[in-house]
């Protein structure tokens, strides 16, 4: 017939309430420890989410990109680009690809003219699948289609910044602009892209560079504008994330075959970049969790000490309880529960404090933070665990007191 847990909790809580100041001082270490756990986990989660969001904006986790391997030392004469025929061949070899889009000259900027105004814009030759792979379509007019590609049409789709700079308030659809010494008809305007930048140096739109782009059919660029017939990169989109790794291996093999075993191109998947980034933040996370653990450990030792002092002070009370029939186990439970309650309160305070300062931290470093229920529960459980571990020694000490000596204690 032992005292119930509920009884111990009630007794413990009223004890803590009686010694409010001591309770607060006791739990300070636990408060700081759980607070830092919450802050660090939220920041790490925020960084990971931001990376994911970025990659999502750039086409999601099922996107695979092929581009020139800049580390490859070109000693033999293997070509470091694809021609149109090769692209069609690769496309036919990968029927599992949902979308396929080669890109021409991503890095080259051209002057675009309209009505006396000019604007430097990166002009890209692409396939119609571009919109599907990048998950980015026109907001007005239409995007390039297969007919444009087959007919080498002189049509162009422009970004919102290009429109603003060249046309102002005028409707550009159907108008002609001059790019690369040719006359292109504007058939569409891409949706405006925006993502809040991490730091506010210069532009606050991390995706502004996309709004400056122009798109023309890849075939038009290859056959009418450039004599070079060179495509350095293409993107593929798959149906499912689980396909990414096997598909990447297959594509690697195809490219190696095309270039006689030379690693001229690299195949990169968004999924691997997500994994890499969460691995990077993992290190950060581990280091800070270790620092928080030290804080919790020190807090735990403080609690052991204060509980021992409290028990000394309450020796007489323990004697009285024993004289009225408390078993050693009852005394043990009473003090252990009290310690766990103390740290639990500390943990809850720490979580609340952590969440409240996170808002300020996130606006200070201009980064989104993510707080979820799982980490709150984790932090609270850890704090209760600290109480359990560091409360055992004082509780055993209390329960082993001799009732006669305890009753006589002054």
């Amino acid at each position: 017939m032992a005292i119930s847990l509920r009884e111990s909790v009630i007794v413990g809580l009223s004890d803590l309430w009686i010694r409010k100041v001591r309770t607060v001082v006791t739990v300070l270490g636990i408060v700081l420890g759980t607070m830092s756990i919450i802050v660090v986990l939220s920041l790490v989660k925020g960084v990971n989410k931001m990376t994911e969001q970025w990659l999502q904006e750039r086409g999601g986790a099922t996107k695979i990109s092929v581009h020139r391997n800049w580390e490859y030392n070109r000693e033999n004469n293997e070509r470091w680009y694809f021609d149109f025929k090769e692209l069609r061949l690769i496309e036919s070899l990968i029927p599992e690809a949902l979308y396929f889009n080669p890109q021409f000259n991503q890095w080259q900027w051209y002057r675009a003219f309209y009505n006396g105004k000019e604007f430097w814009a990166p002009v890209m030759g692409v396939f119609p699948d571009f919109t599907k792979i990048e998950e980015w379509d026109v907001q007005k007019g239409r995007f390039l289609n297969n007919f444009d590609l087959d007919a080498y049409n002189d049509v162009i789709v422009i970004g919102t910044t290009v429109r603003d700079e060249l046309f102002g308030n005028e409707n550009p659809i159907g108008k002609y602009i001059y790019v690369m010494d040719r006359k292109f008809q504007v058939i569409g305007i891409m949706r405006h892209r925006y993502m809040k930048a991490r730091n506010q140096i210069g532009d606050d739109n991390a995706l502004e560079y996309l709004n400056r782009r122009c798109f023309v059919p890849l075939s038009t660029v290859l056959h009418k504008v450039s004599n070079e017939n060179r495509v350095q990169s293409f993107d593929v989109k798959l149906r499912d994330v689980s396909q990414v790794i096997p598909f990447k291996d297959k594509l690697d093999a195809i490219l190696l075959n095309l270039r006689h075993g030379h690693q001229i191109f690299t195949v990169e998947s968004a999924k691997e970049r997500i994994d890499q980034s969460s691995q990077d933040t993992m290190v950060f996370k581990i280091v800070f969790i270790m620092i928080s653990s030290i804080s919790l450990f020190v807090g735990g030792i403080v609690i052991t000490n204060i509980m021992l002092a409290t028990i000394q002070e309450r020796t007489r009370e323990i004697g009285i309880r024993m004289a009225t029939g408390a078993r050693r186990f009852d005394i043990f439970v009473q003090f252990l529960v009290q310690t766990v309650l103390t740290t639990l309160i500390g943990g809850i305070l720490g979580v609340m404090l952590g969440i409240s300062i996170l808002g300020k931290v996130s606006s200070f470093i201009d980064m989104e933070v993510v707080v979820d229920v799982k980490m709150i529960v984790l932090a609270v459980i850890i704090s209760a665990g600290v109480g359990l571990v560091f409360g055992i020694a004082p509780a055993i000490h209390a329960s082993n007191l001799n009732p006669v000596k305890a009753l006589r204690y002054e």
């Binding site: 017939m1 032992a2 005292i3 119930s4 009884e7 009223s14 004890d15 009686i18 007489r316 009370e317 004697g319 009285i320 309880r321 024993m322 004289a323 009225t324 029939g325 408390a326 078993r327 050693r328 186990f329 009852d330 009732p403 006669v404 009753l407």
Partner: protein, 228 residues
């Protein structure tokens, strides 16, 4: 013939102080009957408190036997001793020994809590007992808000709330003025008349008037055991 409730045979308690041994009890043989009011008297250091602690199962003898209600108490484990203290024994101390942070109702509930009586029943029973000792209107008071005599009445209420086999009182009037002391003694007499077994360690000569029997202890030995 009266029923024997406590029987000790050659009870010994020797404290090992390292270099030398101190004998507190030196072969106590005692029989106490149910319903008896026994006073134990003796000078300080005579061993009467040690005897009290052993009879109250707070301490264990180093030799001899102690039988409480046909149970060999000296052979019990600590956990069982706690149960005996809880259910068979009610303590009243000189210094009251109430928990200062709890109100008197909670103080009286304490023994009931440790034997697992549900909350509502416990409260009802504690109120009943506190009313019996005349403190029914002070339930929410802390011990520090009461006079010495009132505190001792709370302690008595706590001692009898579990209906123990024996009530052990250690100098219950020692810290009280004469009036409160007589007051407390009359409560003990009343409990005795209701059939409770009372063992009281005391210096108070007035106890002689209420007790059936007085035992004198000197140097750990009983010097007489006359029925008063």
């Amino acid at each position: 013939m009266q029923e024997v409730i406590i029987k000790t045979e050659n009870l010994e308690k020797v404290y090992d102080m390292g270099k030398h041994k101190v004998t507190a009890l030196d072969g106590i043989d005692i029989e106490i009957y149910r319903g008896e009011f026994l006073a134990i008297m003796g000078p300080s250091g005579s061993g009467k408190s040690t005897l009290m602690h052993i009879l109250g199962c707070l301490d264990t003898p180093t030799g001899g036997d102690y039988i409480l209600e046909d149970r060999e108490v000296s052979k019990l484990k600590k956990r069982q001793l706690a149960t005996v203290r809880n259910q068979k024994i009610g303590f009243v101390f000189q210094t009251f020994n109430l928990l200062p942070h709890l109100n008197i109702l909670k103080n009286v509930e304490l023994p009931l809590m440790y034997c697992g009586v549900p909350h509502a029943k416990r409260k009802k029973r504690a109120i009943e007992i506190l009313e019996q000792v005349g403190l029914g209107d002070r339930l929410k008071h802390k011990p520090s808000e009461l006079s010495g005599g009132q505190r001792q009445r709370v302690a008595i209420a706590r001692a009898i709330v579990n209906e123990p086999a024996i009530i052990l009182a250690d100098e219950p009037t020692g810290n009280l003025d004469t009036n409160s002391g007589s007051d407390i003694l009359s409560i003990f007499s009343e409990l005795h008349h209701k059939g409770n077994t009372i063992i009281m360690v005391t210096h108070d000569q007035r106890v002689a008037g209420s007790a059936n029997r007085i035992i004198h202890i000197i140097d750990g030995k009983i010097t007489n055991g006359d029925i008063a």
